[in-house]
Every structure is written in structure tokens, then in C-alpha cells.
Amino acid sequence: MLYDNLIAPFADFEFMRRALVGTFALAFSAPPIGVFLMLRRMSLIGDAMAHAILPGAAIGFLFAGLSLPAMAGGGLVAGFLIAIGAGLISRWTQLKEDASLAALFVISLALGVTIVSLKGNNIDLMHFLFGSVLAIDDSALVLILAVTSVSLVVLALIWRPLVLESVDPGFLRTVSRAGAAAHVVFLALVVLNLVGAFQVLGTLLAVGVMMLPAITSRFWARDVTGMIAAAVTSALVASYVGLILSFRAELPSGPAIVLVAGFIYLLSLAFGPVGGLIWLGLPRRHLEA
């Protein structure tokens, strides 16, 4: 019974095994990026960037069909262009970065949907918007694993300037010029992970596996390392449970994973040991000192 429900789907079906490996790999790299986005008050930037990669991926699709390298390459280019464009606009005009990004990402989304519709049908469009975990082939798996490996190594390299840039940028400027570089590299990691997640969850849900576990982690840990551990754990659980659910109940896999992540978030919001809502309702005696 337990075996049938929890293990058999993966033992019996190769596409389920691929889906599990792909989502697990993503669960190791996207949530740590999300934790830093959240701590830098850039939670919505991830969402905007996820939409920004759509026209690039769509142009890749226009020329090469549902070919992974073309779509991933196009998505990367579009993501970087939008990120740099938003940065430049905010530097040269009075618009703040979030405002210029908001403007660019809705344009991107509309443009992307239009381009996909030029060549594809509604099924293609659904694939773009919501992904398909269950259609991960070898090349998609390699791409996702590469994204994860690169992200974790680069994140380790920029860890110190990234933390200091987030907590005390003025001090960092007096001791080093690494702050601006760390910010740019970090944005590149955001784009990279969204392109990886895009294969699995589509442009509308890619950010789910990045931000939901990250935001959840705030209710579980008080320091960055602990938060990242909590975020990765909740993403792993969400991926596994989501895949099982989608297999058993014949739900679309991407939304199932994101919904489970959302459920974990709501649970943590209510009962999380660090500042969950339950502690508001449970008056505890204050300490002696």
C-alpha cells in the first residue's frame, strides 16, 4: 500500500523518475536564490523576470519548434536583456528598478504569448505558460542539472559580497568594489534558474519553486544558512508530494507541485516555529532576563 503510493510510480515509470530528478535538482538551486531575493526585498522581481524570459523562448520556438536548446538560449538572452535594460532605465531616468521592470515584463509576456500563437496552437501555449514536468527529456534534464551545478558553485563564490551587499552596502563600498559585481551575477543566477524551472513549470509558475519555499523558510530559521536548508527541504517535499499527487489524482504536475509548496507555506505561516501566527494566540510568560 505504502509502496504502491509512494515508490511504485517512480519505479514503474521512467517519465516519473526523470520528473523527480529534474524537480529535485531545481529544489537545490532555486530556493537559495529565492531566499536572497526575499531578504533583498526583491520577491516580486523573480516573478517579473520569469515573464521576461517568455519572448526569448518563444522566438526560439518560432525558429526551431519545441527544441530545448533554442528555447533555453532564447530565454536566457531575453532574461538578461530585460534585467540589464531595467537596470539601465532606472539608472538613467527617474524610474525605480521595480517600476521599469514592471513595465518591461508585461510587454514581454504579451509579446511572448503573441509570438507563440503565431506558430503554435493552444497546447503549445499551455506548455509555455505552465510547463510539463512529465515531458522532461534527456536534454532538459542535462540543462536543469547544469543550471543547478553552476548556480550552487557561483552562489558559494559570491556568498560573502552578496550577504554584505544585502545587509550593509555602504560598508561594502568602502572596502571593496565587489558589491555591484555580486548584484549583477546574482541577477544572472535568477535568470538562469528561471530558465531551468521554465522547462518544468512554465513561465507563469517557474517562480513558484523559487519563492514559495524561500518565503516559507522565514518561519523556520533565524539565520541565512538555516533558511536555505529549510527552503530546500520544503521544495524537495513539495516536488515529491506534488508529483505523487499529480500521478494519483491525474492533476497537471506543475500546478500540483506549486500548490503543495503553497500548502506548506500556509502551514508554516500558521504554525512555523519562528514567528508563525499561532504564537500570537498563545500568550507565553516572558522570561526572567
Partner: protein, 246 residues
Amino acid sequence: MRQLRFHNLTLGYDRHPAVHHLDGIVKDGALVAVVGPNGAGKSTLFKGIAGTLKPLAGSIVRDGIEGRGVAYLAQAPDIDRSFPIGVYDMVAMGLWRSRGVLGGITGKDHCAIEAAIAAVGLTGFERRPIGTLSGGQMQRMLFARLVAQDARLILLDEPFAAIDARTAAELLALVQRWHGEGRTVLAALHDVDLVRATFPETLLLAREPVAWGPTREVLTPENLNKARRMCEAFDEAAEACAVAAE
């Protein structure tokens, strides 16, 4: 000879000078108070020395003090206090100059960090998140980071504003210790009595330098009056300055 020199230095924002035509030398090991009314250009001068603000004209020469050998405590550091980081890690950031982006914290570094935390009386606070610190504890932590930075030149922008007398006294003792170790310290201060009691040298600034020298000769009633009459507002219709840049 290590020293800090200003050559006809003008610093400012959007072409308006906030420090105007400053000339002079800060000798190695000097303990200098920078005094002046709000808007006199004290913070601007420190930003210039720390290298985060480019001069509009003139120059700052740091002989024998490499760029990163300067430790700078800003007046209102833009620290995100909600960020989940502890006191120990914040103080450890003071080692950036020797450890950089990737260098590991050695056993010796650990001792240096602990010593810096002990020097400001925060032993036992190592694991406390910075968001839980009081204003005075925060300032102690930032002083500990300065200790860890182990810099030749230390810039303190109003370090004792809004902290209680005991904390101020302890941190002032630390400043005097730095002076005893031969470090150069510049501190922007408002408390004239404190300056008279502890700072041998004073620069009285009111956008233009009013006086610079031994504290006794600088902080005279006439000079202080002169500084007080300084006009704070930028003149939007100001002409280009006629004094040649060099």
C-alpha cells in the same frame, strides 16, 4: 611619511560645494576632531576621504595609506537590521581587507574577532541577530568591526550621537586607545566640551575651513561664532566659483 593631504579640495553634490577649498595635512597618528554646524560638510569630507565621493575639484592624497587602509563609520549607516545575521558575522566582515571574498576565517582571525567583540563589551552577544540590538549595542558592534578592520586611518562620523553617556565614554576610551597605538583618527563631533577635553587637534569647518590647529586655538568664541553664521542653503543661482582649481 604616512599622512593625509588635502589640496584645494572641493567636495559637493550636483556641482554645489559642501566642502570648499580645503587645504591641509593630517599627520600620521593625529587625533583630529572635525567640528562645525549641521550642513558644514563634515560628513561630505569623510565620504571624500573614504573614497565614496569624488572631489569636484582639488585632490585628497593618502600617502602611504592604501585605499582600503581606511576604516569609515558613517553617521547613519544604511544597515538592513531585519537581515538575519549575527553580531559575530558582522564584526567578522571587518576582516574583509585581509580575507576578501573567499579567504577562510582562521583560528587567529577567530581570536581577533572575539577580541574586538570583547573590546566593546559585547562578549556574549556573538550569536544575537543584529535586529535585536539596542542603538548603543549597535554602535558598539560597529566599533568592534572598526577594531577588526585594523586600519591606519579611522573616520568616525558623529560616533557618539544618540547613545548614552556610559557607552560614549567606553567608546571614547577605545578611540584614545587607537590614538595610543599610533593610528590616525578623525571624528566629527558636536560636543565642544568633549573635544576640548580629549582631542588635541581640531578642524573647524563651515563649508569653508574656519580654523585648523591645536584645539585650544581653534575653538575660540570668535571662531565658533563665525562658523555659526555659515549659510546652510545652496544658492541655486550660484555662479561658477572664481577661485582657480589649480
